[in-house]
Amino acid sequence: MSDISLRLDVLKTYKLYVGGKFPRSESGRVYEVTDSKGQWLGNAPLGTRKDTRDAVLAARAAVKGWSGATAYNRGQVLYRVAEMLQGRREQFAAEVAAAEGVGAKKAAALVDTAIDRWVWYAGWTDKIAQIAGGANPVAGPFFNLSTPEPSGVIGVVAPQTGYGHSLLGLVEVIAPAIAAGNTVVVAAAADAPMPALSLGEVLATSDLPGGVVNIISGKTADIAPTLATHQDVNGLDLAGAIAAEGPGAAAALEAGAADTLKRVIRPALDPSTQDWTQAPGTERLLSFLETKTVWHPMGI
C-alpha cells in the first residue's frame, strides 16, 4: 500500500496550440514522451499534416494584424511573454530538466536565459527598421527610402538537440521571427515537446494575437515537409531538421522549399554541439525580412 499517496497529482493533457486555441490533434492520437532516463512523462498529441495545414491557415490569417501592429505594440507583447514565463519559471525548469536531463539548477538557468531572450527581442521590434533600413543617397532628385518588412508566414523546425534546445532553442527560433512581424508554425522537438506545448499556454496569456505562433507536436517527417512545400509559407527555419531526420532530410526540405522560393535558414552542420545559451546575433531577425525601397521625385 506504500505507493498510494494521500494526494494524487492532476496530470495535464498536452494539446497543440493553433490559432490561439488548444485543439487535440485531428488524428485523435497521442504518442508517449519520456524523460532522458526513459520514464514516461506524458502523452503528446500526434499532430498531422492536416493539423499543420490548419496552422498555416491560422498563421496566414494573423499576418495582417500582427505585421500591421506598431513596433511598440509588438515589443510590449513580447515583453509580456517574458512576464508570463517568469511567473511559471518553476514549471518550465521542471519540464526542461526532464526533457534534457540536466540538473535543477542548470534547468532553472536555462529558463532564466529564455526569459531574458524574450526581453532582448522585445527591445528589437522598434529598432530593427533603423539598423536594416534607411535613406539611400541616390544620384538624382529623389526621396529614396529602404524599409524592412516581414516575409509573412514562417515554418520552423524547432531545435531537437544541443544544450538548452527544448525551451531556449525554441524561443530562439520563434521570438526573432515574430519580433520582425512574421507569424510562425513550429514543429516542436519531437522527443521533447512538453516545454513547447506549455509555451503555447504562456503565449496564449501574453496578449499575443491568436495565430501568430502555432505549435505542433508529432512526427517531424510529417510536419516539416508539409511546411517546406506549402504554397502559403514564405520562409523556412530548418534549425532542427538535421537532428530530427538527418542531413539528407534537411536537404530535401530545402529542395522542397525551392519550388516556392522560400527564404531558408539552414541548420548548423553539427546541431548536437550547438549551445543555445550563446548570445544570438541578428541573423534570425534579418533572415525573414524583405527590403522594400520606395522612390519619389523631389521638387517644387
Binding site: N136, S146, S151, P247, A255, A258, T291, T293, V294, W295
Partner: protein, 497 residues
C-alpha cells in the same frame, strides 16, 4: 472664294504636314565603328588570358536589328568551367588577403576606365543587344560605372556595414546573368563580389556575350590580378555547370523564375550561398488624381523602356475606372509618337527584340491575349524589313485570369486592368506570385504611403518608374527571388554573415 481658299490651304497643309510628321527627326545614326574591333571568334577569359575552349562547339551572336552574325564565341564545357573556377580559387587566396583599400583602388580604376570607354561600350552593347543607343549611352553605361565606383568605396569599410566586425568573403562566386542589361548586370554582380574579397566566374547570356568579353580587356587594363575575374561564355548548359560546380561557394543568378527555382533546388543541401533576382509582373497603379501627362510618361517608360525586356517593367497598368478613357486616349496619343527602329539612331525609342526566340514568345503570349478576349491596340508604324521587331502594344479589357496579366511577357506589351477603390488596386496588384516592383501615380502623399506600405514588392516607384541607383537596394518579394543588389544590403550576399 480665292481668299477663302487661301486661308483654307495653309490649314489643310498644316494638318497634312503634321500627319506626315512635322516634327519628324532626321536620322541621327551613331557610328557602328565606335564599337571598336569585334573579332570573328572569341574564347573564354580565364586566369587573366583569353583562351580557347576545350570543346569545339561554337555559338553565334547576332545583331538583332540586322540578323547579321557579329561573332562566334565558345560554348563553355564542363572542363572550361573547371579551369575558370580553379583560376578563381587560386586567385582568391591573395585577393581576399589584400587590404580593402587596395581592392578599392582596382575597382575605382575599373570604374574610371569604363567611363573613358563608355561610348565604345554603349555602341557595342547596342549592336549586340538591340537596345537603343540613347539608353545604353544615357542609362546603362553611367550606371555601370557608378556601380563600380560605389562598391569600390565599400571595400575598405566592410567592418562598418552592419554585418559584424571583420566579415569574411565566401570564396569563388559563380554568376549567371541575363541578356537584357548585359553590362549593368555584370556590374551588379562583379562589383560587390570583388569589393568584399571574392573572386568570380561570370557567364554572360548566350545572345549578348560581347560586352562582357570587352570588360575582360578592361580588367587587364586596370591591372586586376589574374584569375580574380573570369568570363566563361555559353548557354544554359554552361550556366548549370557553373552553378553546380563543387568549388563555387556562392551562386548569384538573375533571370527567369523557373530557372531560379531549378538552381535553388540544385543547390539544396550544398550550403552554397545563393541570391536570386527573378521575374516580375509589376502593377503600375494610376489613381484618379494623378497628373495624366506625367503618368503617361511614366507608363511609357515603365513598359517600353528597353523594349519591355525588364524584369521590373510596369507590365500591368491598373487604372482607376473613372479616368480610364482619358488616360488611355492620352497614352495612345503618346504611343503614336514612339519611334521604333535602328538601335544606333539616337532618336530611336524602341529598338530590336533581343532574339528570334524572344520575339516568338512575345508573339505567342500576345496571341493568347487576343484569344482570351482582350482587345489589342498598337500604333501604326513601319518596322524594318530585317531583324526582330515588335510594335508597342496595349491590351484593354484584361482580366486577372488572362495569361497576359499573369505571365511575364518580357516585351513591349502592356495589359490594362481597372479598379474602383484603393483597396481593390492593392488586392489586384498583389495578386501575383511575383513581387519585384510596383508603381503608384497620385498627387496625394498619404495615399502614396498607404499604398506603398501594402504592396508586396521590393521596389515601389511613386510618381516615377524604372529608376536605379547603386546606393539603392533592388530585389524581390515572393517568387521574384531573394537577396538584394545595390546599397549596403547588396554586400550581404557576398559575405559570410
Amino acid at each position: 472664294m480665292a481668299k477663302n481658299k487661301k486661308t483654307e490651304e495653309p490649314q489643310a497643309q498644316a494638318v497634312a504636314t503634321a500627319k506626315a510628321g512635322l516634327f519628324e527627326y532626321a536620322p541621327a545614326p551613331e557610328s557602328p565603328a565606335a564599337a571598336g574591333d569585334i573579332a570573328t571568334s572569341y574564347g573564354h577569359f580565364i586566369g587573366g588570358e583569353f583562351v580557347d575552349s576545350s570543346g569545339s562547339e561554337a555559338l553565334k551572336t547576332v545583331n538583332p536589328a540586322t540578323e547579321q552574325v557579329l561573332a562566334e564565341f565558345a560554348h563553355g564545357t564542363d572542363e572550361d568551367v573547371d579551369r575558370a573556377v580553379a583560376a578563381a580559387r587560386k586567385a582568391f587566396t591573395d585577393w581576399s588577403a589584400l587590404p580593402g583599400s587596395e581592392r578599392a583602388k582596382y575597382l575605382f580604376r575599373i570604374a574610371r576606365i569604363i567611363q573613358e570607354r563608355s561610348r565604345e561600350l554603349a555602341v557595342l552593347e547596342s549592336i549586340d543587344n538591340g537596345k537603343p543607343i540613347r539608353e545604353t549611352r544615357d542609362v546603362d553605361l553611367p550606371l555601370v560605372a557608378a556601380h563600380f565606383f560605389y562598391y569600390a568605396g565599400w571595400a575598405d569599410k566592410l567592418d562598418f556595414a552592419g554585418y559584424g566586425a571583420n566579415p569574411r568573403p565566401l570564396g569563388v562566386a559563380g554568376q549567371v546573368i541575363p541578356w537584357n542589361f548585359p553590362l549593368l548586370m555584370l556590374a551588379w554582380k562583379i562589383a560587390p563580389a570583388l569589393a568584399t574579397g571574392n573572386t568570380v566566374v561570370l557567364k554572360p547570356a548566350e545572345t549578348t556575350p560581347l560586352t562582357a568579353l570587352r570588360f575582360a580587356e578592361i580588367c587587364r587594363q586596370a591591372g586586376l590580378p589574374k584569375g580574380v575575374v573570369n568570363i566563361v561564355t555559353g548557354d544554359g548548359r554552361t550556366g548549370a555547370a557553373l552553378t553546380a560546380h563543387p568549388d563555387v561557394s556562392k551562386v548569384a543568378f538573375t533571370g527567369s523564375t523557373p530557372v531560379g527555382r531549378a538552381i535553388a533546388k540544385q543547390l539544396a543541401g550544398s550550403r552554397k550561398k545563393l541570391s536570386l533576382e527573378l521575374g516580375g509582373k509589376a502593377a503600375n497603379i494610376v489613381f484618379d488624381d494623378a497628373p495624366i501627362d506625367q503618368a503617361v510618361e511614366g507608363i511609357v517608360n515603365g513598359i517600353f523602356f528597353n523594349q519591355g525586356h525588364v524584369c521590373c517593367a510596369g507590365s500591368r497598368l491598373l487604372v482607376q475606372e473613372s479616368i480610364q478613357d482619358e488616360l488611355l486616349d492620352a497614352l495612345k496619343r503618346r504611343m503614336d509618337t514612339l519611334r521604333v527602329g535602328d538601335p544606333l539612331d539616337k532618336n530611336t525609342d524602341i529598338g530590336a527584340i533581343n532574339s528570334a526566340a524572344q520575339l516568338a514568345r512575345i508573339t505567342e503570349l500576345t496571341a493568347a491575349g487576343e484569344a482570351e478576349g482582350a482587345e489589342r491596340w498598337s500604333p501604326s508604324c513601319d518596322l524594318p524589313g530585317t531583324g526582330f521587331w515588335f510594335r508597342p502594344t496595349l491590351f484593354t479589357g484584361v482580366s486577372q485570369a488572362h495569361r497576359i496579366a499573369r505571365e511575364e511577357i518580357f516585351g513591349p506589351v502592356l495589359s490594362v486592368l481597372t479598379f474602383r477603390t484603393p483597396a481593390e488596386a492593392v488586392e489586384k496588384a498583389n495578386n501575383t506570385p511575383y513581387g519585384l516592383s510596383a508603381g503608384i501615380w497620385t498627387e496625394k502623399g498619404s495615399r502614396i504611403l498607404w499604398t506603398a506600405s501594402r504592396l508586396r514588392a521590393g521596389v515601389v516607384w511613386a510618381n516615377t518608374f524604372n529608376k536605379f541607383d547603386p546606393t539603392s537596394p533592388f530585389g524581390g518579394y515572393k517568387e521574384s527571388g531573394y537577396g538584394r543588389e545595390g546599397g549596403r544590403h547588396g554586400l550581404e550576399a557576398y559575405l559570410d554573415v
